[in-house]
């Protein structure tokens, strides 16, 4: 059959696309089956993001409730499970306000620009073996590129709202995102070198030993950078509630607000998935062939719970401290990690360039020692900077009624008159 939109495209590598395409291709013309198969994939993506966001928002509110000695959502559905649906319906029916002085077009484009990167990010994440919606051979690069779009969306929101709190949030958000992009990229280079490929599926199969223990520093830098890019505490500069009300999305309401929230919650799920893929062995686990999706899901949930836990306990850093952390700690650490990994690979690999499990074990030992050294070194440097005077808490509190100054005797007693 002469077909312009034939199987000759990147999506055809995907199992799901291929199956759907071949199945509907039996009855439909090939251009239509191409669309149907593509639509199925997009449908899955959109719903994965929305469901992920809903699940995450429920999980977060419920868990934070537990952290804070209260119940959390518990009215609607078992354990309040349907709360996100109720929230969504409420937000749908709320008035959709646009400030009169806003830049209407940009203002309108922000929710789309927020949600799109999250969906695009999920497109390349392999949920189980051969199930990535698009198995790109530059998956890691693609993810880094796509997540950066968020910074543009944040700046669009801050600029178009014509609100000073939003502008503060946008300026902060962009500063943070740009700063954290650098250590994140550098930290991922170590992973890419180990796997020898930028394809996420290859990264997973290269993890005979999960990279979290082979590359502990890269893992830490990547998680910190991801938290910063997702605006999660302790790096939630752009929407710092106690300072900026809601930061860059102060002026958003109704369905636009719901989309921004969905992008944020979905973003955490997607980022957790990426972390799992890159560092925690992705779908690998017992009976991975059948239960890969379950392992992936459980690991993703665990990482997401980690994010929630941090959010429930940590205070926020100040913007200058946050940037200092990125440039003075995370970047040097990731560079050290990159250098160490390169040297290790150079000396450990065999003639064909393959790293065995034993090699990875040796690297783990070296990297853990290196990480301890780095934490100690930078910790002592930072400590001196942030605590110029550190008298510590006095062991016994002594009452001081008057400052220790001499008070000369009064020469005129009270009550004496002239």
């Amino acid at each position: 059959m002469n077909c312009v939109l034939g199987p000759d495209n990147i999506l055809y590598d995907t199992v799901l696309f291929r199956e759907v395409y071949n199945f509907v291709g039996q009855v439909l013309p090939c251009w239509l089956s191409w669309f149907v198969a593509g639509f199925v994939i997009i449908f899955l993506l959109v719903n994965a993001v929305l469901l992920g966001a809903a699940a995450f928002s429920w999980m977060e509110r419920r868990l934070i409730g537990k952290f804070q000695n209260r119940l959390g959502p518990n009215r609607w559905g078992p354990f309040g499970l349907f709360q996100p649906i109720a929230d969504m319906v409420k937000l749908l029916f709320k008035e959709d306000l646009t400030p009169g002085t806003a830049d209407k077009l940009v203002f309108l484009a922000v929710p789309v620009a927020m949600v799109a990167p999250v969906m695009l990010m999920l497109a390349v994440v392999p949920f189980a073996k051969d199930t990535a919606l698009a198995n790109l051979n530059v998956g890691v690069l693609y993810i880094l590129a796509v997540t950066s779009v968020t910074s543009i969306a944040i700046f669009m929101a801050g600029w178009s709202s014509n609100n000073r709190f939003a502008l503060f949030g946008a300026a902060r958000g962009v500063a943070v995102l740009i700063s954290y992009e650098v250590p994140v990229v550098v930290s991922l280079l170590g992973v890419v070198m180990l796997a020898g490929s930028m394809s996420l599926a290859d990264v997973v199969s290269a993890q005979t030993l999960p990279f979290i223990i082979v590359q502990p520093m890269a893992f830490f830098v990547f998680v910190a950078g991801t938290a910063a890019e997702l605006n999660r505490t302790p790096f939630d500069m752009a929407e710092a509630e106690s300072e900026l009300i809601a930061g860059y999305h102060t002026e958003y309401s109704g369905i636009k607000f719901a989309m921004i929230q969905a992008a944020e919650f979905g973003g955490v799920m997607a980022a957790s998935g990426v972390i799992v893929t890159l560092f925690l062995g992705g779908w690998e686990g017992p009976a991975a062939h059948w239960l890969g999706w379950l392992w992936f899901l459980l690991k993703t949930m665990a990482v997401a719970v980690g994010f929630i836990w941090v959010r429930a306990t940590f205070p926020r850093l100040r913007i200058d401290q946050l940037l200092a952390l990125a440039w003075k700690f995370l970047l040097p650490v990731s560079l050290i990690n990159l250098l160490a990994t390169a040297l290790e690979i150079y000396f450990l690999r065999d003639a064909s360039g393959v790293l065995t499990r034993g090699d990875l074990g040796i690297m783990t030992g070296i990297n853990l020692a290196l990480m301890a050294g780095c934490v100690f070194l930078f910790g002592s440097l930072v400590r001196e900077k942030v605590r110029p005077v550190a008298p510590g808490l006095p062991p016994g509190v002594t009452p001081v009624i008057l400052p220790a100054r001499e008070s000369p005797a009064r020469d005129l007693p009270a009550g004496e008159t002239d």
Partner: protein, 147 residues
């Protein structure tokens, strides 16, 4: 320890010596000064090594219908004593008193509040405008004739 309340006569003796034509009258535990001399007396009370009133507890204004009174409660942390200085402002219209803003920053909001609610203007205060009520409010509600 307890704070010592400086007696009116003692205050009168000290203040009268230092600031000419300032003392109005005194009672057992308070000293009345002439309104125009408030700033001078306050400066003396704050600077004098023996009195050393570094801390202004409160400024209160009382409407006695015939006249108004300003009451300054002062404390010296170093000497461990306190004093009450008062000033009588005659009449009801265009009342004013010198500000002690530049001696005690703590007078800032209290003087503005007295202007706002009692209608006594403090000359020398850099920001003499209403504080609790909005600009353009008619009258001074803590006065006895404001119903």
């Amino acid at each position: 320890m307890a704070l010592l309340q400086l007696s009116g006569p003692e205050l009168a003796w000290r203040v009268g010596d230092a600031v000419a034509d300032s003392v109005d009258c005194w009672s057992d535990d308070a000293l009345w000064v002439c309104p125009a001399a408030i700033a001078g007396v306050a400066g003396f009370l704050r600077q004098d090594g023996e009195l050393d009133f570094q801390y202004l507890n409160a400024i209160s204004a009382i409407d006695y219908i015939g006249h108004f009174e300003l009451v300054y409660h002062l404390t010296s942390f170093r000497k461990g004593h306190k004093a009450t200085i008062r000033a009588r402002l005659a009449g009801r219209e265009n009342l004013w008193a010198p500000s002690v803003y530049h001696l005690w920053r703590g007078a800032d909001f209290q003087e503005r509040e007295i202007w706002d609610l009692m209608g006594i203007r403090f000359e020398g205060h850099p920001n003499m405008k209403r504080i609790m009520l909005w600009e353009g409010f008619e009258g001074h509600p803590l006065r006895k004739d404001y119903l």
